[in-house]
């Protein structure tokens, strides 16, 4: 603001700072000031200052206009329904905004994902709190930035806390796609984001962009840029990846090899297929295993490390690497057997001393890696085996959660439900984590039944805290009555009663929350 002038304020201030013992009283500047009794200089100074202060306050004028930034672009998405907006305010705890209780914090990601899928526009008053929340929790960022929309991108450059917004990929359609300039000058994370986005819409353009600067990129960046090629990977990338097999960096070579091995019909896949045929021969109802005797230069170039990082025996290590990198179609095509049948074929050591059963495990392990890498559902299903049934002990080797992720969501859920029915929740954490949320009703029912059994067996709820946390997020809302019945049946004032009451409350909350979002 512009204070009034001609009020001797500076003179008064100077006299007051040094003291009227040392400074003379300023001469009166107005008739009113002239009427002040000057007998006692200190009192007179305060009188004069009071006159001037009130004059300044009463007469202050606004400062001239300042430049205003261009307003945020319009957001044409439909407005969030009123009830859902209130829910978001509760989830964000906008009033106060301190640490969240566990289950509300667990529900925020789900709310954001569903609201984003509906394509709503948020009430502007909630956008800053959302951007703050996503600053602290990076897993929320993609959904938060997408929901904040043009307003979020308009706000973010003004607040250093929200710098992450411009680096977060939102929409594959790219509302404000940064271009060539970003690739040339952007931060590493921005460049990866840009490349990934481009690969999803125009893989060839993404490859061309990467190739244009490839020679000048740092080795550790090259690895991550190569990873980005996984999106939209096709035969068109093969030449580039083949060249990368000769890269100076070992990690770049390994990544290129891994990508090529997942590319059916690539030259590397064909070379690996040849090597696989040399080490495994199907004959007379057996698989004869001849592990490689050396890791030659060509094998190394194709991404097989000479030494096992975990110190396995050399030949067993090379064998596993070859079998895992070969296209899975080699085995079925060459033998005419299905994956299930192949898994049942015994292995023998080709050296012919009758041993070799131990190769079966190595081969299974390699096939499991290949099934995950090549996203082959037939093999993943065969390796997982039939869903376990009560009374029939069957365990899957390797990492079942990874194999499970290759299957369709429905298959994942029904396999996991069967697993939970047989084995309880003890080993189910990763499997449940691989299932899509919300869980299907059968899976939800299986989990509730397993919780009931755990309560009856007298175990402690906190020994299942990981699964319980996930359950609050993922259990089908339709299961709420069953959980409420469970809460009512459990003896009151026990830890399990609290657990079930809380779980039921969370389920109802989630049900209401999702209902509001679809009501719009």
């Amino acid at each position: 603001m512009t204070p009034v002038t001609g009020d001797q304020w500076a003179d008064l201030q100077g006299a007051a700072l040094l003291g009227t013992d040392r400074r003379p009283l300023p001469e009166p500047g107005s008739p009113l000031a002239a009427s002040v009794d000057r007998t006692e200089p200190a009192t007179a100074l305060l009188d004069l200052a009071a006159l001037a202060a009130v004059r300044r306050r009463a007469g202050a004028l606004p400062a001239p206009a300042v430049d205003t930034p261009a307003p945020a672009p319009d957001d044409t998405r439909p407005a969030l329904p009123e009830l859902a907006a209130r829910r978001l305010a509760v989830l964000l705890g906008t009033r106060g905004g301190h640490g969240s209780t566990a289950n509300l914090a667990e529900l925020l990601p789900q709310w954001l994902a569903v609201a984003r899928a509906h394509g709503y526009r948020l009430p502007p008053a909630l956008v800053p709190a959302l951007l703050d929340a996503a600053r602290a929790r990076s897993e929320l960022r993609a959904d938060a930035v997408a929901l904040a929309g043009p307003l979020g991108r308009w706000l973010a450059p003004q607040n250093p806390d929200w710098r992450y917004v411009t680096r977060t990929a939102t929409d594959p359609d790219g509302l404000d796609r940064p271009g060539e300039l970003l690739w040339q000058e952007g931060l590493f994370a921005e460049r990866v984001t840009h490349l990934t986005g481009l690969r999803r819409t125009d893989p060839a353009a993404g490859l061309a962009l990467l190739a244009s600067t490839w020679a000048t990129e740092r080795a550790e960046d090259r690895v991550l840029f190569l990873d980005a090629l996984q999106d939209g990977l096709s035969g068109a990338d093969e030449e580039f990846l083949e060249a990368a097999l000769g890269d100076r960096s070992k990690n770049v070579r390994a990544t290129a090899a891994e990508l090529l091995s997942t590319l059916p019909g690539s030259a590397l896949a064909a070379r690996m297929a040849d090597r696989a045929r040399a080490v495994v021969r199907h004959d007379g109802g057996r698989l004869h295993i001849t592990p490689p005797t050396a890791c030659d230069a060509a094998m190394q170039r194709d991404g097989i490390p000479v030494k096992s990082p975990t110190g396995r025996g050399e030949r067993a290590w090379w064998f596993g690497e070859v079998a895992a990198a070969a296209p899975l179609t080699v085995w079925t095509a060459d033998t005419g057997l299905t994956p299930e049948q192949l898994l049942a074929v015994p292995t023998v050591d080709a050296d012919g001393d009758g041993g070799g059963a131990e190769w079966a495990e190595d081969l299974r392990e390699a096939w499991a890696r290949a099934a995950v890498r090549q996203q082959n559902a037939d093999w993943a299903r065969a390796l997982l085996g039939a869903p376990p049934r009560p009374g029939r002990e069957s365990r899957t080797p390797g990492a079942p959660a990874k194999l499970l992720a290759v299957l369709s969501p429905a298959e994942r859920a029904s396999w996991t439900a069967a697993f939970v029915q047989t084995h309880g929740l003890g080993d189910a954490f990763q499997l449940l984590g691989a299932c899509a949320t919300p869980w299907t009703p059968p899976l939800s029912t299986a989990v509730v039944a397993a919780l009931k059994r755990a309560a009856e067996l007298g175990s402690y709820p906190w020994s299942h805290s990981g699964v319980l946390g996930m359950t609050e997020r993922a259990l089908a809302p339709e299961t709420a009555p069953a959980v409420e019945a469970l809460a009512a049946d459990t003896s009151p004032d026990t830890a399990w009663a609290d657990t079930f009451t809380r779980l039921a409350g969370t389920l109802r909350f989630r049900q209401a929350m999702l209902g509001e979002l679809t009501a719009g």
Binding site: M1, A16, L18, G19, T20, D21, P41, A42, T43, L45, L46, A49, A50, V54, R57, A58, A60, L61, P62, A63, P64, A65, V66, T68, P69, P71, A72, L83, R86, A89, V90, L91, T94, R95, G96, G97, H98, S100, T101, N103, L104, P123, P124, A125, A129, L151, W154, L155, Q158, N159, E484, P492, D493, A497, D498, T501, A504, G505, L507, F509
Partner: protein
């Protein structure tokens, strides 16, 4: 039927953020049974971890709360949770003709207690010995006058020695303690604030205190309204019941905004109103102990027909709420008419001419854009610019304002003063009020 409140309004009743979170978890139908609303009240049974559910009831008018839970928080999470449930929609809490007995008993007890209190007050007023109270008042006036004179001497000492020489730590606390002894808490508070005043602002504060202490010294010669202002600022209080017994102003008051501030002893809620007929500004104050929300709840944007009694003064603003006529209803014109920055500042100038100690005056700004500049947040209408008063609002609130505006002009209610503008309420593009407190 009682208009349902917004979630934000309900959450503002919660005593602290932890209670808001806890209440949020109770805002779904799951824990509640036998919930209903009627006779201006809301009730329900809330299942907790025990075998007996808690009985929770809220009287919506005051509002007042009752719950059988053992929490010392007030209102407790059950009461706030029940209000949230009710606020979420008509299907959540069904209207009932008659509340259950335990609610009726409580409501009847409350109206009986209110009647008793009124009777007692009348009796007290009749019993009071006018001679004794006159003597008490004279004694206090003399003590305050002595304190004010003492303060003037201290201030004069300060400028004689020079303000560049800082006083030893605690010196102002000592002077403040003397003002408390002199029964002048208003002077004490201003003196205490001097310890945190930057040097270049010290002369202004000295001068205004000097003016106030001097005005009290010759209070008998001042016009009646100005004398009342001086007495209030020095620290004399006026009894609300006494005020309501005097003249009141009946109007349809639009709630322009509210803000809570808290220190370790007290939560203070300020609610600003503007009369639809009279155009008068009014400020209601309500207090709560820490952990308790002040018991005044008026949703911003609503219109309330009521009697207000203003505290006397040269520029009356603070008021107490008397009789209400009906519940707050939505205002017909959601966004109040506003002023330019220059007009708002001129309005403050006019007010200062009547009460020189006024720091600010309520104002609605029309069509201002909040802009973050190297000198802090500014509000501009393309002709004039007001700074947002520094330190008046948390950063989060200012960003909320920026987000609501999105670079477009907004209507903004707040306090306009010599140190800048303190935003309280902004109206968004859909004409809904957004609280910035």
């Amino acid at each position: 039927m009682e208009e349902r409140w917004s979630t934000e309004h309900v959450l503002s009743l919660a005593p602290d953020p932890a209670s808001q979170k806890a209440a949020g978890k109770l805002s779904g139908p799951a824990p509640w049974s036998s919930a209903g609303t009627g006779r201006g009240a809301l009730w329900g049974l809330c299942k907790g971890s025990g075998s007996t559910p808690y009985r929770t009831a809220v009287e919506l008018g005051t509002p007042a709360y009752k719950c059988s839970c053992p929490s010392r928080k007030f209102p407790c999470k059950h009461a706030v949770g029940l209000l949230l449930l009710w606020a979420s929609g008509p299907e959540a809490v069904a209207p009932a003709a008659e509340p259950p007995d335990w609610v009726s008993e409580w409501l009847n007890g409350r109206s009986q207690a209110a009647a008793d209190k009124a009777v007692k007050q009348q009796a007290k007023a009749a019993d009071a010995d006018p001679e004794a109270s006159r003597k008490r008042a004279a004694k206090r006036s003399a003590r305050v006058a002595a304190g004010a004179l003492d303060l003037r001497l201290r201030l004069a000492d300060g400028v004689r020695r020079g303000l560049a020489d800082p006083l030893p730590a605690g010196a102002w606390d000592e002077v403040a303690a003397r003002m408390v002894d002199a029964q002048a808490p208003g002077l004490a508070a201003r003196v205490r604030a001097l310890a945190d005043t930057p040097q270049d602002a010290l002369l202004e504060e000295f001068a205004m205190l000097h003016l106030l202490a001097g005005a009290y010294g010759r209070i008998d010669t001042l016009p009646e309204e100005l004398a009342a202002t001086v007495r209030t600022r020095v620290g004399f209080t006026t009894d609300a019941a006494e005020l309501l017994a005097g003249p009141t102003v009946r109007d349809r008051w639009q709630v322009l905004g509210s803000r809570d501030t808290a220190d370790e002893r007290l939560t203070t809620r300020r609610v600003w109103l503007r009369g639809a007929k009279t155009g008068r500004d009014a400020l209601l104050l309500a207090f709560g102990r820490p952990g308790q929300a002040p018991d005044l709840a008026l949703p911003t944007g609503r219109l309330l027909e009521a009697d207000l009694a203003f505290h006397p003064g040269a520029r009356p603003l603070r008021a107490v709420l008397g009789t209400r006529y009906g519940s707050p209803e939505p205002a017909p014109v959601a966004v109040p008419a506003g002023l330019s920055p220059a007009e708002a500042l001129a309005g403050y100038g006019t007010a200062v001419a009547e009460d020189p100690w006024l720091d600010s005056w309520p104002a609605v700004l029309a069509d201002v854009v909040p802009v973050l500049t190297p000198d802090g947040w500014q509000l501009t209408d393309g002709r004039g610019t007001l700074p947002v008063r520094r330190g008046a609002l948390a950063d989060a609130a200012l960003w909320r304002l920026a987000s609501v505006s999105a670079g477009h002009p907004v209507t903004l209610f707040g306090e306009c003063g010599h140190a800048g503008f303190t935003p309280v309420t902004a109206w968004d593009a859909e004409h809904r009020p957004v609280g910035l407190g």
